[in-house]
């Protein structure tokens, strides 16, 4: 089944407000693809364009090489799982799942077979007769998945479907969603502002901000090689050391951070000598300095948070404007650091990314 999704020059304007700036995107057949970004970044708008609920201002959507421009929302090979699930409260579980088939004129016996099979798939066997209100949050979630799968969509669209669940269930459902995706081989397009969800489940993630694609990459590439300051700051925790490019040496950049010293890092995107930039280093990349370290930073500890496997240290360097967060193995530091201790930290140039100054991070309001 070809369930490739191709967005060609898609953009969306609401009056004077541009929700999505023109973008192109190819989502592979059977891929678990996520749109990650703060609320208001345009990700839900994109989902509504793919599902046909919104007509894009420019551009076209192709699913499985077929143009969708003339196909109304109720005829598209997509199926959506809504943020609030939008199950039909006046119908039973089975009727909910069978609704899409009822629309297509499938016989009652045939429909029952499908709903039984799907209830099996989502681990809710023999619960077709229940009322929606009798189900727990996690069970409703599964019914919503089964209902969306019943119509055998090429593409499943998921609009923050886990946001209503409690933490434990959310983590469990992540594994489950991934497993269902693997078994059904349907293309999943997942919308979330929760990076944990995007990183754990997705094959690729598109990070969005203010209606623009920031970076489209695998989760590990996003984490290790962010291409914009927004991605570096939005995905995972990062320490940002502001500075200026001194020189460029192949893929490596030497950055001058004023009184804090000079550091070497990987070039994230094109940079010019003299350009203001940010040097990004992850909390777990900061280790006790050794003789070989090119990058060294002496800090004093302000707070120690013991979190079991590791410690989170909030430290400060006298010449830097923000705190430096360090995530350390409890075996390395356990019981040895306290408020006021001084630490000599070292970090690898290839675990450090240098990126040009960006507009300040748009704050998410949820």
């Amino acid at each position: 089944m070809d369930s490739r999704v191709h967005l060609d020059n898609i953009s969306m304007k609401f009056g004077d407000f541009t929700a999505v700036h023109p973008l192109d995107l190819d989502i592979q057949s059977g891929e678990f693809f996520s749109f990650l970004g703060p609320s208001g970044c345009g990700k839900t708008t994109l989902l509504n364009i793919v599902s046909g609920f919104l007509e894009p201002t420019t551009g076209s959507v192709n699913i499985g090489n077929e143009p969708m421009a003339a196909v109304p929302a109720n005829k598209r090979p997509t199926s959506m799982i809504f943020q609030n699930l939008a199950l039909f409260p006046l119908m039973s579980v089975a009727e909910n799942i069978e609704f899409g088939l009822e629309v297509r004129g499938v016989s009652k016996a045939e429909r029952r077979k499908v709903s039984d099979r799907l209830l099996e798939l989502v681990d809710l066997p023999n619960s077709g007769q229940y009322r929606i209100d009798d189900l727990s949050g996690g069970q409703k979630q599964r019914v919503a998945i089964a209902r969306a799968l019943a119509v055998e969509p090429k593409v499943l669209l998921l609009d923050e479907p886990l946001s209503a669940l409690d933490l434990k269930l959310r983590q469990h459902m992540r594994t489950e969603l991934k497993e269902i995706q693997r078994r059904t081989e349907i293309t999943f397009i997942y919308i979330t502002h929760d990076q944990g969800e995007a990183l754990t489940m997705s094959d690729r993630v598109a990070v969005m901000s203010a209606g623009r694609l920031q970076q489209v990459d695998s989760p590990i590439e996003l984490y290790r090689k962010p291409k914009t300051a927004f991605v570096a700051e939005f995905v995972g925790e990062n320490n940002r050391l502001p500075g200026k490019v001194v020189s460029i040496d192949g893929e490596q950049v030497v950055v001058d951070c004023g009184a804090a010293g000079q550091f070497r890092g990987q070039m994230g995107t094109r940079l010019e000598p003299g350009q203001p930039c940010g040097l990004y280093v992850r909390p777990e990349s900061l280790q006790a300095a050794t003789a070989e370290d090119v990058n060294r930073l002496d800090v004093s500890v302000e707070t120690v948070n013991f979190e079991g496997a590791h410690l989170t240290l909030e430290t400060r360097h006298a010449q830097l404007p923000t705190q430096i967060h360090v995530q350390a193995d409890q075996r390395a530091y356990g019981g040895q650091v306290e408020q006021g201790s001084t630490l000599s930290l070292g970090f690898q140039a290839d675990e450090t990314v240098v990126l040009p100054e960006d507009r300040p991070l748009e704050t998410a309001d949820d």
Partner: protein
């Protein structure tokens, strides 16, 4: 409840409120009805015969209704026409209510609600009279239809039931639109989108999602419109023809033309029973309780 009231308003004020409530319920609601029922089982006597040997309880008044072919026919015709008015009002109001509740912007809701309410600032008789003018043989509606070429000679709208039906649908549309609006407004728009996403077309979305959700509102609207229609006097009196008399007109005639209050009371009581029966039937058909209607 009395404890809460006492705590909030003090004992004397609570007493006043409760007394007023009971006065309203007993003297203004229950007692008149009971007197009417009492009247309906007594013959119409001149004052000197009151308390005499003929002043006994009898079913005579009701037997008159059952025995009178014309009155009986008008009674059933009133029921049937009121049902027709109810169904027509529902058909006209549903799209308006759905638009207001799910599609319209806040500004549009304000504007349309205002347009719907403005006619009600005018007395019902005057509103009905304006329809009398619009529908009359040489009135503006006929002129318009003739001008547009839809008809080649004027239509007698006011002969038969047509005028009465139009007038009533117009008069009671608000009593249907607002309960429907309330019910449909509480429907999560994602339900509609989900149904559409699963492939449902317009009709199925309404039949399977919106209408089941709006059921209590539909029942409330239908009950209100039916009762208003069955009990209406002004509209059939003004827009009706001799062939489309309403049962209320006969009741009126017994009271004010015939001077027979006892007969009128019996006829009115039968109409009351009919309306209660209709409410019970609608509640049964829609499988809803009294609590749902109150919402």
């Amino acid at each position: 409840m009395i404890k809460q009231l006492t705590a909030r308003f003090g004992r004397p004020m609570t007493l006043v409120v409760l007394l007023l409530l009971w006065f309203w319920l007993i003297v203004l609601v229950l007692l008149p009805q009971l007197i009417m029922i009492d009247y309906s089982f007594k013959p119409n006597l001149i004052p000197s015969q009151l308390g005499g040997p003929e002043d006994v309880y009898t079913l005579g008044n009701y037997q008159t209704l059952i025995g009178n072919d014309i009155h009986r026919t008008i009674f059933f015709k009133t029921i049937w026409s009121s049902i027709l008015v109810t169904v027509l009002t529902l058909l006209v109001s549903y799209p308006v209510a759905y638009f207001l509740a799910q599609l319209a912007t806040a500004k549009q809701v304000m504007l349309i609600a205002l347009l719907l309410v403005i006619p009600y600032w005018i007395n019902e008789i005057l509103r009905t009279f304006s329809w009398y003018l619009i529908l009359s043989f040489q009135g503006p509606l006929n002129a318009l239809l003739l001008g547009l070429g839809f008809i080649d000679r004027p239509v007698r709208f006011l002969t038969g039931d047509g005028g009465v039906l139009i007038g009533m649908v117009y008069a009671y549309i608000l009593f249907m639109v607002f309960p429907l609006y309330n019910a449909i407004e509480s429907l999560d728009n994602n339900q509609v989108r989900a149904a559409r996403n699963l492939g449902a077309g317009l009709i199925r979305i309404h039949w399977r999602i919106v209408i089941p959700h709006a059921k209590p509102g539909i029942a409330t609207g239908c009950i209100m419109v039916f009762m208003l229609a069955a009990g209406s006097y002004a509209v059939p009196a003004l827009l009706g023809s001799p062939g489309s008399r309403w049962f209320t007109q006969i009741i009126y005639n017994w009271f004010f033309e015939g001077g027979d209050w006892n007969m009128g009371a019996a006829y009115a009581f039968v109409l009351l029973i009919l309306c209660i029966g209709f409410i019970a039937a609608v509640m049964k058909v829609f499988r809803i309780g009294l609590g749902d209607i109150g919402k």
